[in-house]
């Protein structure tokens, strides 16, 4: 559990540092959303204890995070196209 917590903190710190140092662009935000998905997966599987749970429980909550991340990446693409 302690290792999972350390990984989650490192991912959160890396995401914030990346955006603060490199700015908001699709190149920095796509890795941030990938890290968000990985964090969500760790919370669901390890903090909530669903690693051995049914398929629906294991994947339902991560699917919610995945849907939002895809929507956010979609927004990035649309606003990028409008701007160019």
């Amino acid at each position: 559990m302690n290792r999972i917590w350390a990984i989650l903190l490192l991912l959160a710190l890396a995401g914030v540092a990346l955006v603060l140092l490199a700015g908001r662009s699709p190149f920095t935000l796509v890795p941030v959303f990938a890290a968000t998905l990985f964090k969500s997966r760790l919370i669901v599987l390890d903090f909530m204890g669903f690693r051995n749970a049914s398929f629906a429980l294991r994947h339902g909550l991560v699917a919610w995070a995945l849907a939002l991340s895809l929507a956010a990446v979609g927004k990035l693409l649309i606003t990028g196209m409008i701007a160019s």
Binding site: I43, F47, N52
Partner: protein, 183 residues
């Protein structure tokens, strides 16, 4: 040393599990709709949203991510199958403390943002921002109070119920943070 799920706690009838998951998915649906509305409004009012986001403090919000993840870690420790009653109590109280710390940081953050909120040039950004983050903040306050109440009388079912809800609040913030502050 795995976290205990509701079905494994042995003390939660099916009805409790059902109510819990109705609650969890209601929360996820509500926040999902709000966050999608935020994304769509960000496309429609692109320039206003970009300008308004400059008034946010991603560093403080990032700090709050660490605080909430630490709180979730303590909640997970409280939910372990092999945790003693004393360990459960200690972990729940620490989880609640970090929950309240999250609220304090968030209110401090609001203090710096409230001035810009009234400006019409930012469109609906701050309306949605305060609805989404305020709604989440209320959940954190409520959850932290319940964590303390459960720490006082930690039955297996109650520990599993509140820690599951607490992790959902955590999960919502983890997805909300990049959408509201970074995109």
């Amino acid at each position: 040393m795995e976290a205990r799920t509701l079905s494994e706690s042995g003390a939660a009838p099916d009805a409790d599990a059902f109510v819990l998951w109705v609650l969890v998915w209601s929360e996820l649906a509500a926040f999902g709709i709000l966050l999608v509305a935020f994304l769509v409004a960000g496309i429609v009012q692109r320039q206003a949203f970009v300008a308004a986001q400059d008034h946010l403090d991603p560093l403080l919000a990032g700090m709050n991510t660490l605080v909430l993840l630490t709180s979730g870690w303590q909640a997970a420790l409280a939910g372990r199958t092999d945790a003693s009653r004393h360990e459960q109590r200690r972990s729940l109280v620490i989880a609640a403390f970090f929950g309240f710390l999250f609220c304090a940081i968030k209110l401090f953050e609001y203090r710096g943002e409230i001035g810009a909120a009234g400006e019409a040039t930012y469109g609906v950004f701050f309306e949605l921002y305060f609805i989404i983050t305020g709604f989440h903040l209320l959940h954190v306050v409520f959850g932290a109070v319940i964590l303390l109440l459960v720490a006082w009388q930690p039955s297996p079912t109650n520990v599993t119920l509140i820690t599951t809800l607490w992790h959902v609040i955590d999960l919502i913030w983890v997805s909300m943070f990049p959408i509201v502050y970074l995109v």
